[in-house]
Amino acid sequence: MIAYFVRHRITTIMFVLVFVVLGVYSYANLPIEKTPKMDFPIVTVSVTYPGATPLEVETLVVKKIEDVVAEISEIKKIKSQAYESLAFISIEFLIEADVNVKSIEVKDKVDAILNDLPDSIEKPIIEKYDPLIVPVMELVLSSDTLDGRDLYEYADKTLKTKISSIAGVAKVDVYGGKKRQVNVWLDPMLMKQHYISIGEVVNAMLLKNMNIPAGALEKGFNSLGARFTGEFESIDEIARMKLVSSDGSSCLLKDIATIEDSYKKIDSMARYNGREVVGLSINKSSDGNAVSIARDLRRRLDAFRAILPRGVNLDVATDTTTFIVDETHATIWNIFIGLLLTAAILYFFIGRWDIAFIACIIIPTSIISTLFPMWMSKFSINMLTLLAIASVLGTLISNAIVIIENVLVHLERSDDPEKAAIEGTQEVFVPIIAATGTNLVVFMPLSLMSGIVGVFMKSFGLTVVYATLFSLLASFALTPMLCAALLQPKKGEKRGTGKPNVILEALFAPLHWIRQGIDAGMEFLKKEYRHIFDLIFRYPKATIISVVLLFFGSLMLVPYLESDFSPKSDEDQFVINMVLPQGSTIERTLEACRLVEGYIEKIPEKKSYLTNIGENGVENAKITLDLVSLKDRKRADTEIMDELTKFIAAIPDVEVSYDRGMSAESGTGDVAIDLYGIDYDTMIGLSQQMKGLMEQSGYFKSVILSYKFPGDEVRLKPLQEKIAEYGLTAATVGTSFRSSVYGEDTNTYKEKGEEYKINIELNDAYAQEADDIKVISVLSRKGLIPLDELGTLVIDKTVPMIRHRDRVRVIHLDGFLGKSSMGVVSGVLDKRFKAMQFHEGYGYRYVGNAEHMDEATRELGKAFVLGVILTFMLLCALMNSLIAYPLAIMTTVATSLIGIILGLFFLGLSINIASMMGIVMLVGMVVNNAILMLDYTLIKMREGVPVKEALWIGATEKFRAIMMTSIAIILGVLPQLWSVMEAKRAMGGVMTGGMLASIVFTFILVPVVFWYLVRFEKRFVKH
């Protein structure tokens, strides 16, 4: 086959080009994303229960739904939150579960208990949830001419429709501004005068505002539709609605109320650069391409701006794709740098441009071809696939290096380049298959990993497999063919035949010197190795013991390594999450935001900032601060956070946490803890103690407790006897109370095909204080009765948001680290929490990132073990040997850990998901050097050379090839060490450390171990 490729050059070129062309075609179709696309098996249930306290929401909604959905199979965890007026239940299923089927099952279960849920709840919303979906872009509308209501109307009714038409856009959420609504402000004093209660107003409107189809009148061949149309056609008609009181007198609605075509009470706000705006959050569909949506949107932005009403501005507030595109370009650039470095190393080692040129052909050919199966596998260009390509860069050329190196040896013996190419390639066929095989087998377990981490790993592992397979194809097809075509035997000096080009020589002189330097260096190392080789065989046992000690010594450094699931990086953006005390109004939250905004204005690195108030209740706000690019600023994002912390720490009652980078799950701490127990009051005490200990540890910038100091609320405790005496029911009294204070907005007003809510509630002037409740009256059979006669008004504490985890009440703590990492700090906290002595039934567990880290460690651990076993089995199979050859080679896996730990230790990098992936990947790579060396040793041993001598020949003959391939791999990943992304740096650190260890221990430990094992085999094992 190799001979065929060498002799049929055009066929070979075309054969390889087919994949290159398909790769180029695939590139145009591959979406660019931050992370691989996946269906998260999470289904959420949201139930709005207007006016209900968290305790009511918990008892009447959350518990009932939890109980019923818990019967569904394949549940991993159930998390619930009971807020004021809202229940939120999140059901996470095992990754293998079909989220569409589970979504239907959840819906069926919830539907089945709808009758058991309170009547006043709104229809439960059941949807699939993707935690990775973040808005692609946030647009903001501001105006000097339009007020908040008109601006919202324009955004909601006009701009939203236009943006929704862009391919891939799933939904556009409009927030901030003022949502149009018809407000009916009832005056209790006037209601008393007209003998009308709020219940009568609500009922009268419900009975009047009707549109009922009445069927059709038919005559012969024609039919005439009939309809009752009692719906309000104007605001004036609402105002003129006739009300009849129980004493028979009548009045108009406007006699007792002020009717305004106005807006809904503001419960959310958006501000851009300190100015009030209406925001549009653009979300992509699950198969949408974020980058192309952003590109399309930016292209059409001018067209949208052209049709804006006068005085209205449209700006892009945030664009998550900018970082994705920049990071993609940065990685592609790193790949390019890696390619150049690899080509350069080939030139410097071998001293021939033609060989460097072959590298420049092989690597891009393999990478471009890889895009084709990536597209076929429905992958995208994302952080993981790019990381896979960047990490595998050196290995793509290593096979070609081995072939070229051997072809050159053959070329020195023969004048026929074709013959040299064929024989040279055939001779290294087995070690190349072994090396590639070991690279591939370790990725099989990665593709089999379960859990969410497994889904991510699949795209990483398979991309490496695709690239490695194409490099193998290129190595056996293209490399020998190119060697035959380009390499010529050196036939003496040709210098004297032509005129020397002085300028060219002067230009290339430095390169020549470097090459000479490397040559000298290699010779020096070889010479030194002779001494080391003698030394290790003089003290073989001491050598093994020293390496074992070094191995355990390096393990002792692990506590000094940081450990995180996914380290955060400076992504030119961070979010300031602010929480104000329970019971704060939106005005108070706005006041705090304004203070922070004022300070942000003074930050020189600030690019823009977007403030969202009320996304999760009016006490909550978040400010997304965009910074100028990292290369254009002197301070890191953390330094800016420090400055902000000093300022915000002087604002009373504001709890703040920071989310770094766009990938961060909003508000989730680096160290997240769930405290569980039996008695809630005891849990509150424990949680506050834990918070105190976390704060005192000195590791956290801030610690946020899910339990909030409760605010006050007015409760009307009904007097049942009185209620019965007046011929009322608790439901009537409660509904009147709720309508008066919270409002009643079931009625709608239609205008130009759009529906607007009609909200009926008490005039604000009469709904401010607890005593205002006394003016609310209910119509009874004895006339209008003030509410306070039907119950006792008491002021009590509200119940703050209640959390459940797996149907048990928990209090959640989020710790945001200022230094160190989750793994290290968890250990420190465990020691501190131990002193607290939790009673039986009480305890805590790390959640969030810690759970992901546990899952990843477990799955990657399994993959590592399986990878080691499969590599060992492959080596046994290839060499038909069970002991000496495979075991000696496998020692490099263990010794590479020394390099990995030292690499991470000295470079200050953490153990994280990326570095763990790198460790698994290295299993297949670190063995390659030993394979090269021992393969040649075995050839020599078969020729009758004694073991020690054969080992020396194997080591020295393959010294250059081992150095070249290893250095090529290291140089390929080296640019990652300077990446902005900590995860990439960690991967680079692992690869560099592991490969350096592989070089060192392949020459120091492998020969000694092999020598011992051969002796062992000869003595005890009969083949």
Partner: protein, 239 residues
């Protein structure tokens, strides 16, 4: 086996030994650096609070006369005066010539009560009230909620309702003493739209925490970031 002295080692062995020693030293230096990094002081909210104290907004208590208001709705007539109806209990608190205010926080009256009907209006079951305006003009037929003082709490110590922590164990307030936060038990005289009248527990000159109390613990160091002054709010239905 005798350990060879340094002098007897060949130069290559010395180089290897030096490299090994350098490696070991580098590891120890790195360990020290890691430990220093883990032990370094970071800028955190807690560190700032420990340094400067927890931020609080305070009010210096002063025994002042606190007006208590009631409110009622009137409709402006063609002659510029306004007419409304009040319940019997409100009527008893009003007086002819009494000043009325247009909103909850206005200190300037907009008019005065010109007439209070003493006979029950049979249609509404309430008592008529007429208001004449001196400092306000509104369209005929428009509605207005007016505030009238019904009582004055003499030399009262009044705090906003939301700062009083009422629990089963009693009512509490935070005050600042010697730069430290103290949780004090108070006895409430009355509580309404004007605020909470403190009968016992605080006195004139005490610095009561208005904002920032949620994060306070007993004897926490505090930093006063603002002092509030001014009269109590003019809301409320009266005692």
């Amino acid at each position: 086996m005798k350990c060879p002295s340094l002098k007897n080692l060949n130069p290559r062995a010395k180089v290897y030994a030096a490299m090994l020693l350098f490696g070991v030293i580098a590891v120890f230096i790195r360990i020290v650096l890691v430990q220093l990094d883990r032990g370094r002081q970071i800028v955190s909210f807690v560190s700032e609070w420990e340094r400067y104290g927890r931020p609080v907004l305070v009010k210096e208590m002063m025994a002042v006369d606190v007006p208590v208001y009631t409110k009622f709705t009137v409709i402006i007539g063609q002659d510029g005066s306004a007419r409304g109806f009040v319940t019997g209990d409100i009527k008893d608190k009003l007086a002819q010539g009494q000043a009325v205010y247009p909103n909850a926080n206005s200190g300037i009256p907009c008019g005065a009560i010109s007439e209070i009907g003493q006979e029950l209006d049979m249609e509404t079951g309430m008592f008529p009230v007429t208001v004449g305006f001196s400092n306000f003009s509104g369209a005929s037929g428009s509605r207005l909620v007016l505030f009238a003082q019904t009582q004055t709490l003499k030399a009262a110590l009044v705090v906003p309702n939301d700062i009083v922590d009422i629990s089963k164990d009693g009512s509490f307030l935070w005050k600042v003493e010697d730069g430290k936060a103290r949780k004090i038990h108070v006895k409430i005289g009355s509580r309404n739209g004007y605020g909470t009248l403190i009968a016992e527990g605080i006195g004139s000159g005490d610095l009561v925490v208005l904002r920032g109390q949620d994060s306070l613990s007993q004897n926490d160091k505090v930093k006063i970031v603002g002092r509030q002054a001014g009269p109590a709010r003019r809301t409320g239905m009266g005692l």
